[in-house]
């Protein structure tokens, strides 16, 4: 291998600084959430304790955290499943040009770039003017889909741009019906990317704030609850909650990455039948 140019070391330093910039604040509140009972929102640490985490588990101390957490969890799963199914169908549809596909494509882009508060305001207005009850599982659910679906579809476009169609042709030549081609050839090949779509669907929903602001009704989701806390809670209990949600997000990401890794591993092991044929 040729020796590293000088610029490599400068850029490595830059990259490390970028990572510190990216993770530093989160790590800091992670440390500060272990403040002693008398500690404040910044250093120095006045002792080390689990005091603030204990506070979180006492219902009356700070809002309805566990209720909002379970709502966010259920909503995240609903959005995740819907995003995967709708994105795959949409991705398949866009493989062929059809009348009106350009309009639909620009709607997807609009959905991505439109200021989130407009969705919140518009959906909220429609629901309130038509007398429907605003609820996180109806209006909130739909409002979040306008954010997760564009990401899901962009991933699907990227996947199908790289998809080798000769696999499908081979299946068709062997007499597979269109459904069999999708079920036994296309879906298994794109499965790891679908895990990615699912991960985006869940985490984007779980962390979404602006689009749920006016569409979730009287029951808050977790980000709304946390934002409410920022205005009236001035103790490290805020950091403790932040640390817990971040740890939860990291666990979710970890699980998804593990699944992708396992899928790829299994495919590498079973995908090729070289050496297993009749000799």
């Amino acid at each position: 291998m040729e020796p590293r140019p000088k610029s490599f070391y400068a850029l490595t330093a830059f990259f490390v600084l970028f990572l510190i910039f990216l993770y530093g604040p989160t790590v800091t509140i992670g440390i500060l959430s272990f403040q002693g009972p008398g500690g404040g929102l910044t250093f120095p640490m006045r002792g080390v304790s689990l005091h603030w985490f204990r506070d979180l588990f006492e219902q009356q101390a700070v809002g309805d955290i566990w209720g909002s957490f379970s709502r966010s969890l259920v909503l995240g799963l609903m959005v995740m499943v819907t995003t995967v199914v709708v994105s795959v169908m949409g991705g398949l549809a866009f493989r062929k040009r059809f009348a009106g596909s350009t309009v639909l494509f620009y709607l997807i882009i609009t959905s991505l770039v439109i200021p989130s508060i407009l969705i919140s305001l518009g959906v909220g207005l429609i629901w309130s003017q038509s007398g429907l009850p605003v609820h996180w599982s109806s209006s909130g659910f739909g409002a979040q889909l306008t954010w997760t679906l564009p990401f899901g579809l962009l991933i699907m476009f990227a996947v199908f741009n790289r998809f080798d169609r000769s696999y499908e042709e081979a299946a068709r030549d062997l007499g597979a019906s269109p459904w069999q081609v999708i079920r036994h050839v296309v879906l298994p090949i794109i499965a790891p990317s679908l895990i990615g779509v699912a991960l985006f669907g869940f985490t984007l929903s779980y962390d979404e704030f602006a689009r749920t602001l006016l569409t979730s009704g009287s029951y808050n989701t977790l980000p709304l609850e946390i934002f409410g806390m920022t205005t009236n809670v001035t103790t490290p209990v805020l950091f403790a909650l932040g640390t817990l949600t971040t740890v939860f997000s990291l666990l979710v990401i970890g699980v998804f990455l593990l699944v992708v890794w396992l899928l790829n591993h299994r495919r590498a092991r079973q995908g090729s039948d070289a050496g297993k044929g009749m000799i």
Binding site: T28, V86, S87, L112, I117, I126, D207
Partner: protein, 314 residues
């Protein structure tokens, strides 16, 4: 080699398609109609969501922007009052300018940082495994809560925060700096912190698709590292830069929560104006501001979209 393979399979596909149409006696027109039916069947759920939760809300906002409001309710009407009030108020123009200011400054910083990081990952990291690992390391924060990432700046930037106490103990300053938190500085810092990822990802994606032999050719032809960057890599990375720009500009211009939180409610952008009106139940006025914001964003993004073919670049 790959191209040969692709054109072969293209030819084969065409031949197959031809055989199909011949045997079934279909005309080309019927084929397109068929595509359209299947396409819309597959896209129906997507279209339904977009119509109900994107198109109708926009229509609703436009309609309500002409309505009237009392202190506690809104009523259907066809008034230009909301727009007249907006367009004749000084505040609107200041806030409008502020919105662009945040977008421009954030764009410049995210582009510089994002490009450098993507360049490092794509051209200086030699093994694919490491590239993927470091890329994931950059992406993970994007999948955690924005609000918590904003909150986490408080212990850093506060009056008695880490930044101030470090600077004081180093003897750089005597008094704590007041402008670190709750200022334009902290707003832009938070934007860069939250959105640099949106530059890194598309630029990295485009860079990974650059044919490495082009760079070898440039080096063989005697180009310095800087010349290669300037005349080969940057021009080829433009589509990625465009997509990143679209993301960052749209996110910053549509934001209200970062500005509110990081400026301690001392600065405003269009989003904040809308949110203020909503808090006061002045939905028609909020809608009028929303229409102006939406038109601005769509014109801006529409212009950027003319410079890049998103679907081809994914």
């Amino acid at each position: 080699m790959e191209r040969v393979h692709r054109s072969l399979s293209d030819a084969r596909r065409r031949a197959l398609a031809l055989r199909h149409t011949e045997t079934l006696g279909q005309t080309a027109g019927a084929g397109l109609r068929n595509n359209t039916v299947i396409g819309w069947l597959l896209a129906a759920p997507l279209a339904l969501v977009l119509v109900v939760f994107l198109v109708l809300p926009i229509v609703m906002i436009v309609v309500v922007s002409f309505w009237g409001a009392t202190e506690w309710s809104i009523y259907p009407a066809f008034l230009f009052d909301n727009y007249e009030f907006l367009l004749t108020s000084d505040v609107t123009y200041r806030v409008f300018f502020n919105t662009f200011k945040y977008a421009a400054i954030t764009w410049a910083f995210t582009l510089l940082i994002g490009f450098t990081v993507a360049y490092y990952l794509a051209f200086h990291i030699r093994s694919l495994t490491w590239q993927i690992a470091l890329f994931l390391l950059c992406t993970i924060p994007f999948l955690t809560s924005n609000i918590i990432r904003m909150i986490s700046w408080i212990p850093f930037l506060g009056r008695n925060g880490i930044a101030n106490s470090t600077l004081i103990s180093m003897g750089v300053i005597d008094e704590p700096l007041e402008w670190l938190l709750f200022s334009d500085f902290s707003v832009v810092l938070a934007f860069v912190h939250l959105y640099t990822l949106f530059m890194v990802v598309p630029i990295f994606n485009t860079m990974m698709r650059i044919d490495k032999s082009l760079i070898e050719a440039a080096v063989d032809a005697g180009a310095t590292g800087w010349q290669t960057l300037r005349h080969v890599i940057i021009p080829l990375t433009k589509p990625g830069i465009m997509i990143g720009t679209i993301f960052v500009v749209a996110l910053v211009m549509g934001d209200f929560i970062t500005v509110r939180f990081m400026s301690g409610s001392q600065s405003a952008n269009m989003g904040r104006l809308i949110q203020n009106d909503i808090a006061l139940l002045q939905y028609p006025s909020a809608s009028a501001t929303a229409v102006i914001l939406l038109v601005t964003v769509l014109i801006l993004i529409g212009t950027l979209l003319r410079l890049v073919d998103i679907r081809k670049e994914l």
